[in-house]
Symmetry: C2
Subunit: 189 residues, 2 copies
DNA sequence: CTTTTAACCGAATAAATATTCACCTATGTT
DNA sequence: AACATAGGTGAATATTTATTCGGTTAAAAG
């Protein structure tokens, strides 16, 4: 027998991300995915039972690869440094994978999303929440509501990276430092 | 002859916004719109030539009503107060009209959007940019890149209001004040 | 080398959705 | 009151898109 081809699977995912970036998850069709991935339409159904399963699977894959991977290396550092590293890594990740970010965002608001996929978003947020709380205990971070601080970090990084991606501006050291300074002034005591 | 019914037009728009909030612009169909608006499918085509025209027209309407309207009253105030007022109004507007925000966001990433609609986003941003520049000249706002500061304001307000809408938390004075304090610390000199 | 099995394929089919149209109905005009 | 006109309608049609299926091909097993 012939085994499945890992390259084809990845080509399907890549095509899905590219197409979503181009005309949104609304414009995504199975035939376009097949054409972009350079495989036959029928082959799509070897790898996935349906379009719905395809996009859920992709979402799952992106979530598990995503920003979570960085956490473990940082746990020993002081709070401010941890935040700085997270900020830097997140910006890099989001700028470099902007099409993926677009896909995930649109997927979250689509009727395709399964209950299981919905649950996948929380681990990174939890970690960030704990870090902020730790900073508050050490009196180096404002005693403001956690949601208020967290929204700042996530909303800001999302907007900044999508603005950079839109204008095709590179993510320079200067931008990282300036923007982190802004963040830190926002949340420090 | 019989005149068009303004109520029906608004019902169509309302239905479109509601449905987009429920299962995204992907799940939006003409028959669902008609059913939700309690009119016949055929009637939709009395008011709009096509689905594409319908969503573009709605986008145009929301943009022109939107946050722009507040600007004129504020021009005399000092920079910090203007920002404070804008912050407050924007949060209110975004929380109260969250479904509209969702619609606009998804529309921007859909294949439905026309060239003309794309152009509509800029006036408010321009005004905010000028205000920040004025603050920088007066030395009360950081000398950082304008894009970096602007991303903070827009990304933060978007995230905060969508978080409030998601958790159905009310927008209290306390939240407005705390979050504006965070903003101001972020951008002040 | 032969057999077996599952990948691979795209034309054909099914399903979902947008759009039309022939027929009503309500409102303004004469 | 009679007419003219445009709104209102949803079943019928056209279009688009997901999915199936019978046949072909390539890899693994023996």
């Amino acid at each position: 027998m012939k085994p499945k081809d890992e390259k084809k699977l990845q080509a399907i995912f890549d095509a899905t991300i590219t197409l979503t970036g181009q005309e949104g998850i609304v414009g995504l069709t199975m035939s376009k995915i097949a054409k972009t991935a350079k495989i036959g339409i029928g082959t799509l159904y070897v790898y996935f039972e349906s379009k719905e399963e395809l996009v859920n699977e992709l979402y799952r894959q992106l979530k598990s690869k995503g920003t979570l991977s960085m956490i473990d290396d940082l746990k020993q550092l002081p709070v401010k440094l941890q935040l700085m590293e997270i900020w830097k890594n997140t910006l890099h990740y989001q700028v470099e994978n902007h099409a993926q970010m677009l896909f995930m965002e649109q997927f979250l608001n689509s009727p395709f999303i399964s209950e299981e996929s919905r649950g996948l978003s929380h681990r990174f947020m939890e970690y960030l929440g704990e870090l902020l709380k730790k900073g508050q205990e050490q009196m180096i971070i404002k005693q403001a509501d956690e949601g208020i601080l967290m929204s700042l970090l996530t909303g800001y990084s999302r907007q900044l990276s999508s603005q950079l991606a839109a204008t095709k501006a590179p993510l320079t050291e200067q931008i990282i430092n300036e923007s982190f300074a802004v963040c830190w002034d926002a949340i420090k005591s």
